[in-house]
Amino acid sequence: MLEGKELTKRFGGIAALSQVSFALPEGLIVGLIGPNGAGKTTLFNSIAGAFKPSSGQVIFKGKEITGLSTDRICRRGIARTFQVTRPFDEMTCLENVGVAVINRARPVSSPWRDAAYETLRFVGLGNQADLEAKRLNLIEKKRLEMARALATEPSLLMLDEVLGGLNSREIGEAVDLIRKLRDEWGLTVFWIEHVMGAIMSTAQRIIVLDQGKKLMEGTPEEVAEDRRVIHAYLGE
């Protein structure tokens, strides 16, 4: 599905990411964890086209996408959300999602309004469709961000700390939604998360980054017991 080959990203003299290789199998939820500054978001940015990796390759569905422009990568089928939500504040929720619907690769058979409304209803924002995005609260903004990502009709969804700032009930709802995306929509999910309980119980595989390098990869159980991981998180 998605493969990274020896991805390296340098900012000046500092390697935020060095020689990271990984492969995501289709239809799984794969977690990406690591202490702050481990290079998780840098890895996401290198994949989604926010910047070109200094070296290495990104292969998506058998084709190289390294360094393609963000909008082209989006139309190939990769969507992402941000830690801090960034809706188009001055537009309604429907219009927010509409932008993604209009631009997706597959020709839109139904008018964009219907498709956008359908997506909003799926994430539970059906009643807020005509509300300006700036009026939403945090959890609603996160839902909108998710709706926008889904409206691009991705096959790979990259989530960057979607659970941050949510209470335990909201976390439960969000995790259910993510599971539903995998099981019913057949999406592959690549997920950065600091809420360990949620990611460990949901993801089928976990990749651990530390100081720009891949520390290990394995099932949640293997990761939880690995001495290097415990060391990276807790120190000596």
Binding site: S69, D71, R72, F88, M91, V99
Partner: protein, 285 residues
């Protein structure tokens, strides 16, 4: 004298608003300040003169062709000069400034220093409320300008193209992540901005003939209107344009024509002193 000055103010206000919408669009979506905006305005006047006067085409057809040509010219300029400067606003500022000087001198070389005036669309004058006679050409300019402004509003607020423009001007990166091809959008928006300058140009050229440098005060006024109305606000452009047109013409009528442009700047200073973000501008966050 008052109704006459009001009418003049209204006509100029609408043209200012149209020119300012072009500036505002380009600033809002691309973060590029196009110093050559006035030269695109003049170019359309010259084109319209060439098509209508020299080739003898129908005035409406000439104007449409002129706006279309300036749109294409704008696209070429974006592709060749502006695109390489993305990421550094200073370069595009300097380059468009140079472009304006180059164009002014090209016009001087090609068309000469004397004013060129495309033929009017209508003749005669209309008696307004039995009060005074007003040139039909100016009335037509007012009507055409109003129609064009409404068309721009519909384009931005109601079409999918407009929604992409609004999305990209609010958060460029996020728009790209939602599949918006912002490079292409930039090219089109710049062309559209130039076409709006051109529209103002062809509408006003039969009233105020064009000379190589007569675009300068128009562009300057358009920038004033954008700042007055508030960066990025379309309503700001319209209201700001009308205020400026009315104040200039009322001032010229009742105080002195010599100070015509001074009144506009006084208004600008007052507004900025009271509300630094402009009439409709939102505070920078």
């Amino acid at each position: 004298m008052l109704p006459m000055a009001l009418m003049n103010g209204l006509v100029m206000g609408v043209i200012y608003a149209l020119a300012a919408l072009g500036v505002s669009l380009v600033v809002g979506i691309m973060n590029v300040i196009n110093f050559a905006h006035g030269e695109f305005y003049i170019l359309a006047g010259y084109f319209s003169y060439l098509f209508a006067d020299t080739l003898g085409l129908n005035p409406i057809l000439s104007m449409s062709l002129a706006v279309g040509m300036v749109f294409l010219f704008g696209i070429v300029i974006e592709y060749t000069i502006i695109r390489p400067t993305y990421g550094n606003h200073m370069y595009s500022l300097i380059l468009t400034f140079i472009l304006s000087i180059v164009l002014q001198n090209a016009y001087l070389l090609i068309f000469g220093p004397y004013p060129k005036k495309p033929p009017g669309w209508v003749k005669g004058a209309t008696n307004i409320f039995g009060d005074f006679c007003y040139g039909n050409q100016r009335l037509a300019a007012l009507a055409a300008g109003t129609v064009l402004i409404v068309a721009v509003f519909l384009l931005i607020k109601k079409t999918w193209f407009g929604r992409m423009i609004r999305a990209a001007s609010q958060d460029r990166e996020m728009a790209e992540l939602n599949g918006v091809n912002t490079a292409l959008l930039n090219t089109f928006s710049f062309g559209l901005g130039c076409a709006l300058a051109a529209a103002a140009g062809v509408v006003l050229a039969p009233v105020f003939p064009v000379t190589p440098t007569s675009g300068v005060p128009v562009a300057l006024t358009a920038f004033v209107v954008v700042v007055l109305g508030g960066m990025g606000s379309m309503w700001g452009c319209v209201i700001g344009g009308l205020i400026l047109g009315l104040v200039e013409n009322l001032g010229a009528a009742f105080i002195s024509t010599g100070y015509k442009h001074l009144f506009g700047f006084i208004i600008l200073i007052v507004v900025l002193a009271v509300k630094p973000s402009g009439l409709f501008g939102s505070r920078e966050t």
